[in-house]
């Protein structure tokens, strides 16, 4: 499998580490609140496992060391959208 790094272009999977779904970290105020706890639990535990496009984070560990977001179709393992650094 090849992954499109925004800096280095298409490179082998072996050069990357996986960072999971690219979810926005819920805004962090000091202390948990009833309003933010469900959002936090969703962020940490209740993640979707879609059969289809998934925005996810990749780290080009053996390359430029950039974390970037790429969209991959989990059914075909095809990278289907432009990556955003």
């Amino acid at each position: 499998m090849r992954i499109p790094c925004p800096n280095c272009g298409s490179r082998s999977l072996a050069e990357f580490s996986y960072g999971g779904a690219a979810l926005d970290r819920p805004p962090g105020d000091i202390g948990p609140s009833p309003e933010t706890a469900p959002a936090w639990d969703d962020f940490v535990y209740r993640r979707d496992n879609p059969a289809g496009p998934l925005r996810e984070l990749w780290f080009h560990a053996a390359g430029c060391r950039a974390w970037f977001v790429a969209t991959r179709d989990t059914r075909s393992l095809e990278f289907i959208a432009e990556v955003t650094p």
Binding site: M1, R25, P26, P32, W40, V44, A61, A66, L77
Partner: protein, 975 residues
């Protein structure tokens, strides 16, 4: 013994005779032979015994679809099992042996199981060998011995294997007419196109087109020679003969194995291709009749190829059973080569006038609307019974060869590996690649051309190959008229899968027992699950299973072939990465010294580290006790170069660290170190280490050995994603620094004796402080930190200086009682101090509070994992907490990995309250101690539990105690 060699013809070099041995007997062949063609020419008709019934079997096919002639080639450490005789090139001195026979092919004691055949129906293994489970190892050995699965060599492989990665614009798999046409068209369109053409045979040209066919107005042989010459002249084109593509993977990665001569035996290629053209040809389907497995029954195309390529004749007198016009061509060619044709039997009512005329001209008996019902013969075919399709009187023919031609199936197995689909084409009566499979996929896909796409005529192969080579969409194929019906049945055993001994009756029984899906029928009957991957059996099996359910084959679908297409040796997969290269070990600058001084080395993550230093007449445990005790009494030296080291620079480092660690770093003054703990977002402890502020904007972090890469990625993620905009530069410098720890009550005296150009007294260099300067002529960074609980210093130098520093310290240390110590003593010392380690105590399920770190957790800032810590389950009082354990009987050891239970009374299952995480003998306490995670452990200190190890049968009463066994006030490390 009826095979023979024609005196002329074929592409063999009769001037070069090759001696070889098969099943212990000496034979001769010629350069250009395969093992199969040489065996045929020598009249060897039985090459194997069948898998289940041990029936005699002969050579059936010409290439990779051969189901019977499985052989082991070579001897001793070079013995290779599971090769097909049809694919083994004859070389001088070749030694081969039938795989499926014991004690010999001609007298097979297991043939007695043939008498049991009625009692070995489908699912036999499922039903018979299922119970009792305890007997499985016995059954498995029995089956494997009887089944002749091939023997792996016992000795190490002496040969070298190579591994190549390649990216190309176009990969053409199959160098026949269509494949060569594709490559030529691509090269002509753009000479810069990087093209790789592979073919499993030594010569390009493929098997599907006769030498005498006319292509572009020339004989095919000449056309091939031109194409190969033209392609060889293009610098960007690589032609790889004797190379098999075994798998197609996502992102158009294709695995190839190249057979080599010389020092490298096989070369594995991993090829990334922008475009792939699949030109793998087609496989001839057999026709079924009773006793269709008897030696002497063969594919018509195979007999024709053996005759035309190798002048090897499979028999003297043949009956040709064909439902496809190609069977007639085979008959005419064989007759030309000297094989008498007793009859052509065609189940079709209508036979073309031209074919009828040619049969008549050649004096060949043609029986249309007839079928072969059964074969006869003891060791091999001696005749057959033919009957009209509509019924009626049978006719018997005497023959030593029955050739079947049931039409063609595209050899498109590779098409399905990465998600391509096959569709049933009624006009071709075959499964063909579905060109729509790859819709919406930009990086994976292939275009099938020629016979692999169901295109069987010369003009069509040429056109489909050229179109694909130019990057045009695939041409439409298939007509409207249904043809080549698959003929089923006969009297006696009709074999669908010759390699796995699956008959028509077996499949019908599976269907009667409720197996419907072809994937289930396949697994239940083992249809198509042999090393030939059902190349011959696949479609016929589908047709039989469909008929048994009253369905059309198209309605049943097909089982999906998966990689590898053909067996791949472990040698090819491993390539050169064996022995020390199999998992490259990282070594520290002091590695050579460790090895020269009795170190017992162990793998720690990717590193090699000394566990302990052995001395004469000393057991390993004694060595650990000596090394650890010496640190507590005098001073020790240990190599900590493997610690992860990260250099951090910029005005915003403190903000980054505050987000990464549970404790705060903004207040850390230059020249000081601080211990820190990191969490994952789910609140679990990720890692620990120290951070030293070198100057206002330059920091130095250490991580645990195994987590260096993970923490680097983690910090970059915080910098680039969570807190975008921080001005921080993160540089991993693990390899740039060598490091060693000097620990023990005399550590400071020793450090002073090294005459550093900086002060080392407790005022100038207190606990958790930094000193930088020179020790002798070596620049060093000294951190007063301790992982042993003793007064200790970590000394960092440039990696190139580390060994010199190590030796300097050793030389100066003699008068202080210095000894080196390894990772085992380091573990002993940290367990005595109750210090947790990721992987042992911090096992991915432990929170800071579980480890007694609650007071470290800042409440004044946001950090990774903070908001998980207040989840209700994470503040429950019965969480497993870190405690120390001492055996009640101080002479007893505590079993490693033991479960903690309340007592030994009561009936199982017993509630497990925790588990032992680390065990050591404590030289300081003179007894065994342990760290454990125990539910509600901190509230139960002083109570007794039982450490129970079901693995060893030990049950040891233990007392729960605080985890810090030595110097709980920390006076030693601060003093």
């Amino acid at each position: 013994m009826t095979g023979w060699r024609a005196p002329t013809g074929g592409r063999i070099d009769r001037s070069r005779t090759i001696d070889f041995r098969f099943n212990g007997r000496a034979y001769t062949g010629h350069d250009g032979d395969t093992l199969a063609s040489a065996l045929l020419a020598n009249g060897v008709d039985i090459v194997a015994r069948s898998f289940k019934y041990h029936r005699p079997r002969g050579i059936v096919a010409f290439g990779a679809d051969e189901p019977n002639a499985l052989v082991e080639v070579g001897e001793g450490s070079r013995r290779t099992p599971n090769l097909k005789a049809t694919q083994v090139r004859l070389v001088p001195g070749l030694v081969a042996r039938s795989q499926n026979c014991w004690p010999s092919v001609n007298f097979d004691i297991m043939a007695i199981t043939g008498l049991l055949a009625p009692f070995m129906p489908s699912g036999f293994y499922y039903k018979t060998f299922k119970w009792p489970v305890s007997a499985w190892p016995f059954y498995e050995r029995l089956i494997r011995n009887a089944a002749g699965m091939g023997r792996a060599p016992a000795a190490a492989d002496p040969d070298a294997y190579d591994s190549v990665h390649r990216s190309v614009d176009l990969l053409v798999i199959g160098g026949g007419l269509a494949g060569l046409a594709a490559a030529r068209a691509a090269a002509q369109a753009d000479a810069g196109t990087r093209i790789l053409v592979v073919d499993e045979l030594a010569e390009f040209g493929g098997l599907g087109t006769a030498d005498t066919a006319v292509v572009d107005g020339r004989d095919y042989r000449d056309w091939v020679a031109d194409a190969v010459a033209a392609l060889s002249a293009v610098p960007n084109v690589t032609l790889l003969p004797r190379t098999t593509a075994y798998g197609h993977y996502d992102g158009n990665l294709v695995g190839l194995v190249e057979e080599c001569d010389g020092p490298v035996r096989q070369r594995r290629w991993l090829v990334h291709a922008d475009r792939i053209v699949l030109a793998t040809g087609a496989t001839e389907r057999p026709l079924l009749f009773g006793g269709n497995d008897r030696p002497g029954v063969m594919l018509a195309s195979a007999a024709r190829l053996y005759a035309t390529r190798h002048a090897a004749m499979a028999g003297r007198r043949a009956v040709v059973f064909t439902s496809d016009d190609s069977g007639y061509e085979a008959a005419f060619d064989l007759r030309q080569a000297g094989v008498a044709i007793a009859a052509i039997v065609d189940p079709r009512a209508e036979v073309g006038e031209a074919l009828k005329g040619r049969c008549a001209a050649a004096g060949i008996t043609l029986l249309a609307a007839h079928r072969i019902e059964s074969s006869h013969g003891r060791r091999r075919v001696s005749g057959c019974t033919v009957r009209p399709i509509a019924g009626g009187q049978p006719r018997r023919f005497t023959c030593d060869l029955i050739l079947t031609a049931g039409g063609w199936t595209p050899a498109a197995q590779l098409f399905t590996h990465a998600g391509g689909r096959l569709r049933h084409d009624p006009a071709l009566a075959a499964l063909v690649p579905d060109a729509t499979s790859w819709a919406g996929r930009a990086s994976t896909g292939m275009i099938a051309v020629g016979a692999a796409a169901g295109v069987y005529d010369v003009a069509g192969c040429l056109a489909s190959g050229q179109a694909a080579g130019r990057g045009e969409p695939p041409l439409g194929i298939g007509g409207s008229e249904a043809r080549s019906p698959i003929v089923l049945g006969g009297t006696g055993k009709c074999f669908v899968d010759l390699q796995n001994d699956v008959t028509v009756a077996d499949i019908a029984l599976a269907v009667r027992e409720g197996y419907r899906s072809i994937e289930h029928v396949k697994r239940y009957t083992t249809l198509g699950m042999g090393t030939d991957q059902g190349k011959l059996a696949g479609l016929t099996g589908v047709a039989v299973a469909a008929a048994a359910q009253g369905l059309a084959p198209a309605d049943l679908g097909n089982s999906r072939p998966r990689p590898p297409l053909s067996p791949v040796t472990f040698g090819a997969l491993a390539g050169p990465f064996v022995g020390p290269l199999s998992s490259p070990a990282r070594t520290t600058p002091m590695h050579g010294w460790h090895e020269a001084h009795g170190a017992l080395m162990a793998n720690v993550g990717s590193w090699r580290r000394p566990q302990l230093y052995r001395r004469e007449a000393e057991g390993d445990l004694e060595a650990v006790i000596r090394e650890a005790g010496n640190v507590r009494r005098a001073v020790g030296l240990t190599d900590v170069s493997t610690l992860g080291k990260i250099d951090l620079q910029g005005p915003d480092v403190a903000r980054l660290l505050d987000h990464a660690y549970i404790n705060g770093f903004a207040s850390l003054a230059p020249g000081r170190c601080r211990y820190g703990v990191m969490l994952r977002e789910d609140g679990m402890v990720l890692d620990d280490g120290t951070v030293t502020r070198l100057t206002a904007e330059r920091w130095f972090m250490t991580t645990t050995t195994g987590n260096a890469e993970r923490i680097h990625a983690h910090l970059e993620r915080i910098r680039q994603i969570d807190l975008r905009g921080l001005d921080v530069t993160i540089t991993p410098v693990t390899e740039q620094w060598g490091a060693m720890a000097v620990a023990g009550p005399r550590a400071r005296d020793l450090l002073a004796a090294l005459r550093p150009d900086f002060a080392v007294d407790n005022e100038a260099l207190p606990f958790m402080a930094l000193a930088e300067g020179r020790i002798g002529d070596i620049a060093a960074r000294v951190l007063r930190v301790s992982f042993s609980g003793e007064r200790a210093y970590e000394i960092y130098t440039a990696a190139g200086d580390a060994l010199a520093m190590w030796n300097t310290i050793l030389a100066a240390g003699t008068s202080f009682g210095l000894m080196p110590y390894g990772t085992e003593a380091m573990m002993t010392l940290r367990i005595e101090k109750g210090l947790f380690v990721p992987g042992f105590e911090a096992d991915g399920r432990t929170l800071p509070d579980d480890l007694g770190l609650a007071r470290m957790v800042s409440t004044k800032k946001e950090f990774v994992g903070r908001r998980s810590l207040r989840r209700p389950a994470f503040v429950a009082p019965d969480r497993k907490q870190l405690v120390g354990l001492m055996a009640v009987d101080r002479t007893q050891a505590i079993p490693r990995g033991a479960q903690i239970v309340r007592d030994l009374g009561g009936a199982p299952p017993v509630a497990m309250e925790g588990h032992v995480t680390s065990v050591t003998y404590s030289p300081e306490l003179g007894r065994w101690i342990a760290l454990a995670l125990v539910a509600g452990g901190r509230a139960a200190l002083g109570e007794t539990r039982v450490a129970a190890s079901p693995l060893t049968g030990e049950t040891v009463p233990v007392t729960l105690c605080p985890p810090v066994f030595v110097d709980p006030e920390g006076e030693r490390l601060r003093g």
